[in-house]
Amino acid sequence: MNPFTYSRVVDPNEAVTGIAAKPQGKFLGGGTNLIDLMKMGVETPDALIDINRLPLAQIEELPDNKGVRVGAMVRNSDLAEHALIRSRYPVLSEALLSGASPQLRNMATVGGNLLQRTRCYYFYDPAFPACNKRNPGSSCGAIDGYNRIHAILGQSEQCIATHPSDMCVALAALDAIVRVRGPKGEREIPFADFHRLPGNTPQRDTNLEHDELIEYVDLPAIPFASRSHYLKVRDRASYAFALVSVAAALDFDSSKKIKAARIALGGVAHKPWRANAAEKKLIGQPADEKTFRAAGEAELAAAKGYKHNSFKIELAKRAIVRALTTLGGMA
C-alpha cells in the first residue's frame, strides 16, 4: 500500500471541496473494495476522505408517492432488511442478500457498491502486464487469457470485463436515479447512464466525475415491483459473484397478458445490462415458457462468447426463463 493521507468529513459540501482539492484522492465508504484494491496496488490514492459520518444513512419515502430515497451511506444489510424495500422492491432486497457475506454487507455502502470495480483477474493483480482498464494502452489480458467470468454483451476489443454488483442489477431494472453533488451543485443521473460500456475508454467505469459525491439513490414508485425477483447463478451456494443473474418484475393486464416488464442482467456486461429487447418481446404476450424463451433468445441474440465463457449465453437464457416463470407463478 502506498502512503496516503486520511481525513474525515461530516458534511457533503466539505466532502466535495476536499475531493476537488485532491485529484488523486478517493472517498472511503465501507472500504470493502477500495482497501482491497489499495493492498493489491491497483488503486493508489494519495488521500482518503472518510465519508462514513456524512448524514446520508437514511431510507425514507419521497413525498407524493414518488418512491423511496436511499442515502449513499446506507449499509447493504440495512437496505436489504428495510420494510419499505422488502415490501415494494423485493428484487433489491434479494439482490443484496445474494451478494458477498453478512460481514461484508454490514460494511458495504450503497455508494461504494455502485462504484465497486470489476473482479477481472488481470485488473486485480498489477503483476499482470496487460490490462487496459488499469493501465490504458497495455492491451487486454483477458481477451486471450482466462475469461470465464467475462462479458458476453456490450464488450469491446479493449475490455471484456463485467460489473460484479448484484445490487446494481436490481437498480437497473428499477430505473433508479443516482443523485450526486459536485462543486457546481447537485445533478441526477438516470441509472442507465450511470455505468458505461468499455468502448475505447475502459478505464472509466461510470459517468461520475472525480469530484462528485453520490448522495442518494432514488427508487421511483413502480407498483408492480412488489412482484419482482432476483435470480443468481453462481459457482458455489454463497459468497460467490454471479456467473449470470437476472432482476425482473412483471405486470399483467386483466387477461393475464404481460402489460409491463423490467428485466436486467448481471454478470454479462461491463454495466448492469438492461434487457430492453427481452422486455419488448414480452409485452402483450401470455406468461408462458415459450414467451420467456423468445425473450431470452432476443436479448442474447447479439451475445458473443470467448474461450471460457460461452456457456454464459445459454445460462443467461435459462436464467431469464426461470426468473420470469417464478414471477408468472406469482400472478
Binding site: Y121, F128, D235
Partner: protein, 713 residues
C-alpha cells in the same frame, strides 16, 4: 482409578484457548526489536533476472535492509535425504542464481520497521527479466521433452507396477472402459498463512517461531543450511492454524528470514499474504489419469490399467502418486500402474491432503462406477464382487479389513436400495435432477518412530512432552487421553506439551500417522513413569507424599514401529461414502446428503474423529465442485490467488447433516490401542461419490474436476 477416556467424546482440551484467542499462533509471537520482512517475487514464470533495482525501495520509509542474491550468504545444501529423488520440497537453494522457474519465485526480502513499510518498499523494487514463454500445460510438447518415469514415491512406494498381463486380459474382456480423468492444481489454503520469526540468540544459535508440522525436520534443515549443530537450532510451534499438506518440507522463506535476521542482528518476521499461499510454498499438482478397465460378463475385474501424468517444477522431483491404491484396492489379476512426470513452470508441488490418494482414488472410483454401469451391475454390488481379501500387490493379508461392513451399513443407512439404477431417472419437486453416488475411501495406516517424556511434579500434575504438532486435529486432547488412561489420572492432571524442538523426537505431522506414532510413545513414557512411581511408593502418592518429593519423577520412552508386524501385514483404513446430489437447470450442484461409514480401528475420541471426517468430506465436496488454481497461459501467474475467486466450500455448500459412522473395532496389529489414522481418509473417495452422483442425476459423465456449472449445462 479413573474411568478410561479413550473412546469418549472428550471436548478439546485446548478449545477454550482457541475460542478465546489465547492460543498463540506463529505470527503472533512478538520479539524485542522485531523487524518485518516482505518477499520480492518474480513476475515471470520462466527465464532469468537481468537486473534487480532496489534503489527506490532502499530509501522508502522504515526500510532497514534488503536481502537479494548479492548480499545473501551462500547457504549450505539441504540435508541429502530431503532432496533425494521424489522428495517433496525444493532442491534449489534460494537466491543462489538468477534463474526463474515459476511465477512468484522468491527473489529477495525487504525488511522494514513495520509490515506495511516493508510491503510498500517491496512494491518499489524494479526487476528486469529475460523472459521465455512458460510451460504451463501437461500436453505441451516442451513439457513432454522433460518426461521421466520415476521409480519410487519419496523413495518408498513403487510407482511403476505390473502384475499379470493387462493387455492380454483387456483383449478378451467382455466389458471395457477407457477414460481419462483430470484434476487441477489446488492450493492448501489453511486459514493461517505461513509465518516465520527468526532470531539469532547468539552468533551460532538460532531461535525460530514458525508454523511447521515438521519441527525436527526444520531443525535439521536450518542446521544443515547454516552449518550449525542441530541442537543450536530451536523451533517453537505450539499451534498451527491448519496445514493440509502445507507447512512441511523445505521452502525458501525460513532460510531467507533467518539470513535477514543475521544480516540485521535483530529478529525478523516474515508472514505470507493470502496470494503468496498460492505461489510460494507448495501446492497440489495437476494430474491426467488414463484408465483402461476390463471386466468379465459376471462383473469380475480382469484388467486395470492406470496411467498417470503429473508434473513437478524444474527444481523439485516430487511426484503425485495417483496409482498407489489402484494396485490393491480391488482384486484383479492383471494390473498395470504407471506414473509419468513432466516439468512445468508452476510452483513446486508437494503433498496436499491425501497426496496421490485424493486425485487417484477420485479417478479409480469414477472408473469403477463407469465399468459397473457398463456391466449393468449396481455400484455397491460391483465392489463386493471385486472385494480384495488380501493385498494382491504386496501379497500379504490385511491387518484388519471391515470394508464389506462399511458398504453394507452405509448403503442401509443411506437408503441406497431406493436408487433407480438408470441415470437421469430421478427428479425433485423443484425440477432438479437427483442422483445417488457412492465410492470407496481408503488410506494407508502408517506408523513412525516417536518419543515422549513424562514428568510427575510435586503438585501432582504430569507433564508429557513430545516434539509433535497440533494442526487442529486434536493432538493435545488425544495425547492427554492416552496419558490420563495409562496413569489412571483425570485428564485435568495431565499437561501435554508439544511444538518445541527441544522435546523428544516425533515425526513430521502427515500421512495420518500422528496418533498411531506418538500415541505409543506417550503410553510408553507414562507406563514407565507409573512403574517408577509405584516402585518408589507402592501406590500412587497422595498430596502430602507428592509435596515432599525432593525432585520431579521423570521417564522417557521411544516407540518404533514393529518391523516384523509391518512386514507381515498390509495396513489401511477404509470407508464407504454415499451422497445425494441435486443438479438444477443451471448446472448448479448441491450435495443434499452424505453418509459415510469408516473402518479406522479403535475410536480414540469420537468427537474429534467425527470432526476429522466431516472436515475431510467438506474438503471432498470442495474438490469435486469448486477448487482449482488457474494459471494464466501467457504469464504462468495464478489468476485466482485469493479466497474470493479460489472457491472452497462454504457453510451453504454443506449438506444439512453429515451422517458419519464408525465400525470401531481395534486393529489387532496396530500397537497398543489398535487405532489407525483418521486424517486424510475423509477426502479420499468422496469426490468420486459426488461425481458419480452427478452422472446418476444427469447422465453426464464429467471427468475433469472441478464439476462447475459450465460443464453440466
Amino acid at each position: 482409578m479413573n474411568t478410561p477416556t479413550v473412546g469418549k467424546p472428550l471436548t478439546r482440551v485446548d478449545g477454550r484457548l482457541k475460542v478465546t484467542g489465547a492460543a498463540t499462533y506463529a505470527a503472533e509471537f512478538q520479539r524485542p526489536q522485531l523487524a518485518y520482512g516482505t518477499l520480492i517475487q518474480s513476475a515471470i514464470a520462466n527465464g532469468h533476472v537481468v537486473k534487480l533495482d532496489t534503489s527506490a525501495a532502499k530509501s522508502a520509509p522504515g526500510v532497514v535492509a534488503i536481502l537479494t542474491r548479492e548480499n545473501t550468504p551462500g547457504f549450505k545444501p539441504y540435508p541429502d535425504d530431503l532432496t533425494k529423488k521424489g522428495a517433496p520440497g525444493e532442491n534449489r537453494m534460494p537466491l543462489q542464481d538468477d534463474e526463474v522457474h515459476y511465477a512468484g519465485q522468491h527473489l529477495g526480502v525487504v525488511v522494514a520497521e513495520t509490515f506495511e513499510q516493508a510491503t510498500y518498499a517491496a512494491s518499489l523494487v524494479r526487476v528486469t527479466y529475460q523472459a521465455q514463454s512458460p510451460i504451463i500445460d501437461l500436453p505441451d510438447q516442451r513439457a513432454a521433452n522433460t518426461a521421466t518415469t520415476p521409480e519410487k514415491f519419496i523413495g518408498r512406494e513403487d510407482l511403476q507396477v505390473k502384475r499379470g498381463d493387462a493387455d492380454g486380459a483387456l483383449a478378451g474382456a467382455a466389458h471395457k472402459i477407457d477414460a481419462t480423468y483430470s484434476t487441477p492444481v489446488e492450493n492448501h489454503n489453511p486459514i493461517e498463512t505461513y509465518s516465520t520469526t527468526a532470531e539469532w540468540e547468539a552468533a551460532d544459535r538460532l531461535l525460530v517461531h514458525e508454523c511447521t508440522r515438521g519441527i525436527k525436520q526444520l531443525q535439521r534443515i536450518l542446521a544443515a543450511c547454516f552449518g550449525l549443530p542441530v541442537e543450536h537450532i530451536r523451533i517453537i510451534c505450539p499451534f498451527i492454524g491448519g496445514a493440509f499438506g502445507s507447512k512441511g518440507f523445505q521452502w525458501s522463506q525460513t532460510l531467507l528470514a533467518a539470513a535477514a535476521a543475521r544480516l540485521l542482528q535483530r529478529p525478523v518476521k516474515l508472514t505470507f499474504s493470502r496470494s503468496q499461499m498460492f505461489d510460494s510454498a507448495g501446492q497440489r499438482a495437476q494430474t491426467e489419469q488414463h484408465f483402461t478397465v476390463g471386466a468379465d460378463k459376471n462383473g469380475k475385474l480382469v484388467a486395470l490399467r492406470h496411467a498417470t501424468t503429473t508434473h513437478s517444477s524444474p527444481i523439485s522431483e516430487y511426484t503425485e502418486p495417483c496409482g498407489n491404491m489402484s494396485r490393491m484396492l480391488y482384486s484383479c489379476p492383471n494390473v498395470d500402474v504407471t506414473h509419468r512426470l513432466v516439468k512445468l513452470n508452476l510452483t513446486s508441488p508437494c503433498p496436499m491432503r491425501a497426496p496421490g490418494e485424493c486425485p487417484g482414488v477420485f479417478a479409480l472410483e469414477c472408473a469403477m462406477d463407469e465399468i459397473a454401469h457398463e456391466t449393468g451391475i449396481d455400484p455397491v454390488e460391483f465392489r463386493l464382487r471385486n472385494y480384495a481379501d488380501r493385498d494382491e500387490h504386496q501379497n500379504r493379508p490385511w491387518s484388519m479389513k471391515n470394508l464389506r461392513e462399511c458398504y453394507e451399513r452405509g448403503a442401509d443407512k443411506f437408503g441406497w436400495s431406493k436408487r433407480n439404477q438408470k441415470p437421469a431417472s430421478m427428479r425433485g419437486r423443484d425440477g432438479s435432477q437427483i442422483g445417488f453416488g457412492m465410492a470407496t475411501a481408503i488410506y494407508p495406516a502408517a506408523q513412525q518412530k516417536a518419543g515422549a517424556t513424562a514428568t510427575l511434579n510435586q503438585d501432582g500434575t504430569v507433564v508429557v512432552r513430545s516434539a509433535t504438532h497440533e494442526i487442529g486435529t486434536g493432538t493435545y486432547t488425544a495425547m492427554s487421553q492416552f496419558a490420563a488412561d495409562t496413569l489412571g489420572l483425570p485428564v485435568e492432571k495431565i499437561r501435554f506439551e508439544l511444538g518445541d524442538s527441544a522435546f523428544p523426537v516425533a515425526p513430521n505431522n502427515g500421512g495420518s500417522w500422528l496418533t498411531a506414532s506418538v500415541g505409543p510413545a506417550v503410553i510408553g513414557a507414562c507406563g514407565e513413569l507409573k512403574k517408577k512411581v509405584l516402585d518408589q511408593f507402592g501406590h500412587w502418592p497422595n498430596e502430602r507424599e507428592l509435596s515432599s518429593l525432593s525432585a520431579p519423577i521423570r521417564s522417557e520412552f521411544t516407540s518404533e514401529p514393529n518391523k516384523e508386524e509391518r512386514g507381515k501385514f498390509s495396513f489401511f483404513s477404509y470407508g464407504a461414502i454415499f451422497v445425494e446430489v441435486h443438479v438444477d437447470i443451471f448446472g448448479q450442484t448441491r450435495v443434499k446428503r452424505a453418509t459415510g461409514v469408516y473402518d479406522v480401528g479403535r475410536m480414540i475420541n469420537p468427537k474429534l474423529a467425527r470432526s476429522q471426517i466431516m472436515g475431510g468430506l467438506l474438503f471432498a465436496i470442495s474438490t469435486a465442485l469448486f477448487e482449482a488454481t488457474i494459471p494464466d497461459q501467457a504469464t504462468g501467474r495464478v489468476v485466482n490467488s485469493n479466497l474470493a475467486e479460489y472457491h472452497v466450500a462454504v457453510h451453504a455448500d454443506a449438506p444439512p447433516e453429515f451422517d458419519i459412522d464408525f465400525i470401531d473395532k481395534p486393529d489387532p496389529h496396530m500397537p497398543d490401542l489398535g487405532a489407525r489414522g483418521i486424517g486424510e481418509i475423509g477426502i479420499t473417495g468422496a469426490p468420486a461419490a459426488v461425481a458419480n452422483a452427478i452422472f446418476h442425476a444427469t447422465g453426464k459423465r464429467v471427468r475433469n474436476l472441478p464439476i462447475t456449472p459450465d460443464k453440466l449445462i
